[in-house]
C-alpha cells in the first residue's frame, strides 16, 4: 500500500489514547495478545461446533442447539476486534503496509460475507434438521469455507511479524 494513502489514517490511530497506553505500559501488549488468543479459541471452537454439524462430521449434534454458539462466536469476534484495534493503534505504520496484515483483513471481510450468506441463506432451513439428518450441499460448502477462511486468518495473523522488511 502506498505510504501517502494510509499515512493520515495511521497517524490518527497512532495518536489515540489507546495507542499511547499500548506503547507506554509494558504489560499492555502481552496482555492484549493473550486476550486475542483466548478470543480466537472461543471463536474457532464455536465455529467447529456449528460447521462440523453442518458438514456432517458431528451430525448427531442438535442443529438448533449448535446455533447457540453463534452469540459466543460474535462476542469472541468483538473481543478480538477490540484487542486487534489496540495492536493497530500501538504501531499503525507497522501494520498498514504489512502484506500478512492486509491478507488477514481481506480474509476477515470474506469470512463476514460468508457468515451473512449462512445467516440469511441457510440458517432457517438448517434449524429444521433432525438429529443425524444431512444438511444441504450448499450449506456444507459455506461451513467448509468458514473453517478454511478462519484457518487462513490465523495463519496470516501469525505471519505478521515475519514478513516485515
Amino acid at each position: 500500500m502506498d505510504y501517502d494513502t494510509y499515512a493520515p489514517l495511521a497517524s490518527w490511530f497512532e495518536a489515540t489514547w489507546l495507542g499511547g497506553q499500548m506503547r507506554e505500559q509494558f504489560w499492555m501488549f502481552p496482555m492484549m495478545e493473550t486476550i486475542h488468543f483466548i478470543g480466537i479459541t472461543f471463536l474457532f471452537g464455536s465455529l467447529l461446533v456449528i460447521d462440523m454439524r453442518v458438514i456432517g462430521f458431528g451430525r448427531f449434534i442438535n442443529m438448533n442447539a449448535a446455533m447457540k454458539y453463534i452469540p459466543v462466536a460474535i462476542i469472541a469476534f468483538c473481543v478480538n476486534l477490540l484487542t486487534g484495534l489496540a495492536f493497530l493503534c500501538a504501531d499503525p505504520f507497522r501494520y498498514f503496509p504489512n502484506i500478512a496484515f492486509q491478507w488477514k483483513m481481506g480474509l476477515i471481510v470474506i469470512a463476514g460475507i460468508n457468515a451473512l450468506w449462512f445467516w440469511f441463506g441457510e440458517h432457517k432451513e438448517l434449524c429444521q434438521l433432525a438429529d443425524g439428518e444431512d444438511a444441504p450441499f450448499r450449506a456444507k460448502v459455506i461451513a467448509a469455507l468458514s473453517l478454511a477462511i478462519w484457518i487462513g486468518v490465523i495463519i496470516f495473523g501469525r505471519m505478521i511479524p515475519y514478513v516485515e522488511y
Binding site: 471452537g45 464455536s46 467447529l48 449434534i61 442447539a65
Partner: protein, 149 residues
C-alpha cells in the same frame, strides 16, 4: 543437558533456526492447532457448565476426535519449535508452567468426560470443568509469556 545440546545442534534445531520460512510456518501451524484443541476444549466445557443444554454431550464425541487432531499438530509443531533453543526453554519457568498446565488440563478433560458419562454429581463435574478451562487458559498465558520472559 547433553541431550538438550544434542537436540539443539541436531538437524531439526538447525532447520528451525536457519531456514527462512521454517520458523513462521511451524509457528503458524502451532497457532492453528491451538485454536483447534482449545476451541474444542472450550466449546465442550461451555456445554458441561450448562450452556446450550439441548446438545447431548455424547454427540460431542466426534468433535473430540478433531480436538485430538489439533493436539497432535501442536505436539509435533511444539517439539520442532522446542528444538530452536532447548537449552533455554527447558529451564524457562514459563515453559515449565505451560507444559504442566497442558498435562493437568488434559487429565482434567478426561476427568470431566468420565464424570459426564458416569454418575458424578453435577456440582463436582462443573468444578472439574471450571478447573479444566483454567488450566488451558494458564497454558495459553504462560505460552505467550515465553516470548517476553
Amino acid at each position: 543437558m547433553g541431550f538438550l545440546v544434542w537436540l539443539e545442534e541436531g538437524a531439526l534445531g538447525i532447520f528451525i533456526r536457519e531456514s527462512l520460512w521454517g520458523y513462521p510456518i511451524v509457528l503458524s501451524s502451532h497457532a492453528v492447532g491451538m485454536a483447534i484443541v482449545m476451541g474444542v476444549v472450550i466449546a465442550l466445557n461451555l456445554r458441561v457448565l450448562g450452556y446450550a443444554k439441548d446438545i447431548s454431550i455424547l454427540a460431542f464425541d466426534k468433535l473430540f476426535l478433531i480436538g485430538w487432531i489439533g493436539f497432535i499438530i501442536n505436539l509435533i509443531s511444539g517439539l520442532i519449535l522446542f528444538c530452536n533453543t532447548p537449552t533455554t526453554y527447558f529451564f524457562q519457568g514459563s515453559f515449565i508452567l505451560k507444559i504442566a498446565s497442558i498435562v493437568l488440563g488434559g487429565i482434567l478433560m478426561k476427568v470431566v468426560m468420565n464424570s459426564v458419562r458416569g454418575d458424578t454429581s453435577e456440582g463436582l463435574t462443573k468444578l472439574a470443568s471450571f478447573a479444566c478451562i483454567a488450566c488451558w487458559f494458564g497454558a495459553m498465558i504462560t505460552g505467550r509469556l515465553m516470548a517476553y520472559l
